[in-house]
């Protein structure tokens, strides 16, 4: 009996499930085959979890949006319309799969695959309970950012390959937004990494004796804003601005490809909410019972999704140049301020072993909340000034009692 033994230090070594399957299957099959089988099993779980999650998010978002808008939302199929995503999927699957004339067929086809793939791979490193992530990568945070940057290429390819000018507009906008917002997002995550002392998401959760949205409110703000830009959600959804450029880069997609793109979008919302929960809301750590970690994690993820939906339901969209201005003139300074403040605090507060105690975290929270309030107010004022100067608006409109039957404005010049 040559049972295979997984090297505990290999990438998947920390995954109990993988080891269990690997060693179990290894009893009967050669080791490499066991490795493949275990990997496939893990991938199956991952794909199902994320895509089902995306389906639930799509339903939940529509229900929530409906309630925000004082209507019901999907309610026809299943309890509370919960089977609606399945109906949608069935409809999309049975639709004709159109590749527009003049499109680059290969590039057009790989886009949905690429988007879903990057989403799935990114979801793999998020710990959804104590010590339960598919992979506890020691560079988890960076990994997610790196993988999500693949989406940029996918979107660009979609816009280019569709042979549609609206899609091209959307792609150009999306890339501009994605590239710009990556900078403040990475900088804000850097603050988290500094305090936690690790890039592994598992370690970051453990380090949150005080949830980081209190310790680093600025980073939280920047991260949520930046991520809603990267997810193409209002007020930063220029890339899919349906009132301007129809659907942006996925205008020409139909059938299963469209379904995949939608799955990637809703799944993206799910993964990003999970990431927010992990980075700022202390992930699976809850008030009682570690084994209930998945529950806390789900609740916190829901908070993230609710936040996104709430913002989406409330605000109009910004223009592209204004989004750029918000990124470079508002979020960027905020994230740098946060980074500097956190660096200094960590430098002065840590003890000899470079460890921060809970008391230290509370001190940091106190300082940082003040800093956040002040800097958001100051930079908000600055960006407002900028906006005022750029527009040639006369004083505010006024109410005039009419009754005079002459035109008060001189004609001519036209």
């Amino acid at each position: 009996m040559n049972a295979c033994v997984l090297n505990p230090h290999s990438i998947l070594g920390g995954n109990h499930l993988f080891r269990f399957i690997y060693e179990g299957v290894g009893q009967m099959l050669p080791c490499w085959m066991a490795y493949v089988v275990a990997g496939a099993a893990i991938m199956l779980i991952l794909i199902n979890a994320v895509l089902l999650g995306a389906a639930i998010v799509s339903w939940g978002e529509r229900r929530l949006l409906g309630r925000f808008q004082n209507r019901v939302g999907p309610n026809r199929w299943g309890p509370f319309g919960a089977l609606q995503p399945i109906a949608d999927l069935t409809k999309l699957l049975t639709k004709e799969d159109i590749v527009p004339y003049g499109a680059d067929r290969i590039a057009f086809t790989i886009v949905p695959v690429l988007m879903v793939a990057s989403l799935l791979v990114g979801a793999a490193v998020i710990p959804f309970a104590k010590d339960v992530a598919l992979v506890d990568l020691n560079v988890g945070v960076l990994f997610i950012l790196a993988v999500s940057s693949l989406t940029t290429i996918a979107i660009f390819t979609a816009g280019w390959a569709s042979n549609n000018r609206y899609a091209l507009f959307g792609a150009g906008r999306a890339v501009a937004v994605l590239l710009s917002y990556e900078v403040p997002v990475v900088l804000s995550v850097l603050g988290v990494v500094l305090v936690a002392g690790s890039m592994s998401l598992g370690d970051i959760v453990v380090a949150q004796a005080v949830p980081f949205f209190l310790v680093q409110p600025l980073a939280f703000f920047v991260f949520v804003a930046g991520m809603s830009a990267e997810l193409n959600r209002t007020p930063f959804d220029v890339a899919e601005a349906e009132s301007e450029i129809i659907a942006g880069y996925h205008t020409e997609y139909s059938g299963i490809k469209f379904a995949l793109i939608q799955a990637a979008e809703f799944g993206g919302a799910l993964v990003v909410s999970g990431l927010i929960a992990t980075l700022f809301l202390a992930g699976w750590a809850g008030p009682v019972a570690d084994w209930l970690g998945w529950l806390w994690f789900l609740i916190k993820t829901f908070i993230g999704i609710f936040l996104f939906v709430w913002i989406r339901s409330t605000y109009p969209r910004l223009r592209l140049d204004q989004i750029m201005a918000v990124c470079w003139k508002f979020l960027m300074p905020l994230s740098i301020i946060n980074l500097i403040a956190v660096t200094l605090e960590v430098f002065f507060l840590r003890d000899a072993h470079g460890v921060l105690t809970t008391a230290d975290l509370w001190i940091m929270a106190g300082i940082n909340i003040v800093i956040a309030a002040v800097s958001i107010a100051v930079f908000g004022q600055l960006i407002r000034q900028q906006v005022r100067n750029s527009s040639q608006t006369a004083p505010a409109s006024r109410l005039v009692v009419s009754g005079v039957s002459t035109i008060e404005v001189s004609q001519g010049q036209g």
Binding site: N70, P235, S243, Y315, P316, L320, D321, R384, V387, S402
Partner: protein
Amino acid sequence: MTIRTEPMTVNVGPQHPSTHGVFRVRITFDGEDIVEVEPVLGYLHRGTEKLAEERNYVQIVTLTDRLDYTSSMINNQAYCLAVEQLLGIEPPPRAKYLRTLTAELQRIASHLIAVGFFVQELGAFGTPLMYTFRSRERILDLFEMLCGARITVSYMRPGGVFADAPDDFWPALDQFLNDFEGELAELEDLLLNNEILMVRTRGVSPLPPDVAINCSVSGPVLRASGVNWDWRKMAPYDAYDQVDFDVPIGSSGDNYDRFWVRVQEVRQSLRIVRQCIEQIEPGPARLELPLVLRAAPGAEAYGRVEASKGELGFFLVSDGGISPYRCKIRSPSLINLTITEHLLIGWKLADMIVSLGSVDINMGEVDR
């Protein structure tokens, strides 16, 4: 050093989510900046003016419903005023008040649509639109109570309105007015000073008053440019000389002002409706007229109202028959579209949609 760019021509419409029906603009972009605009009209042309020559004076009322289908009451009113002028008759006072009241309710409904879609085009995900439609739905319910239809009302007839309001209409109207105060306040909280909306619309696509006058635009678009021009004040028709209201005037004529003027006009319309309820007195609501009307040969009449989108006029010529010899419709949406180039050129794609929305065109009226 300059970078040479290549212009790109894009067809916006007639199948576009935010061109208000089947409006088509051929736009040449430089990057996202607009350098050339060419509106293409006529996709919804139904020949209303010609159809009117084949129908008798009462039947034409049903055609006017379908011009600007978001404010059919006001279209009815304009047409009926023209016919009454043609025939030299005057409706009874109760009919006048009923007309004023319903026209103002319709103005509220129409402005609610304009505001809702305006914000929708700014990118709000349907929420303000849903709120405005919620209120508009109440108004349409009132219309259904009055005349059995919600959109294509055909409520007014030459010589009055088709029938007096039912008894349960007045309490329902009171109920609506009270509720709507709150809903309007909510809407103003959500929109009027929203920073994102301000940033997107303040100073964008301003329309100077001289250009506005030279393009002969009318309605909220004209008033937003600071021109004090409202037919309800200039040449009061129906019961407008009996009621007291203000005309909101914008200052710079930008997108925000056009939006702001509409919101304020909703408030003023509420005032008018309340005054109408106070002043209205019992009496007949319709003149006793024959089913088929005939005007004197050669008679001409021009009836005009301040519709929700601007000056709406019906020019009727009679040859003594049962239908007009000629019916010319001066539709505000079409004439307001003459400022398209002025509004759009030099602004961005995203502003273009918003500017078009702020003009509040209705293709049923543009193409007639």
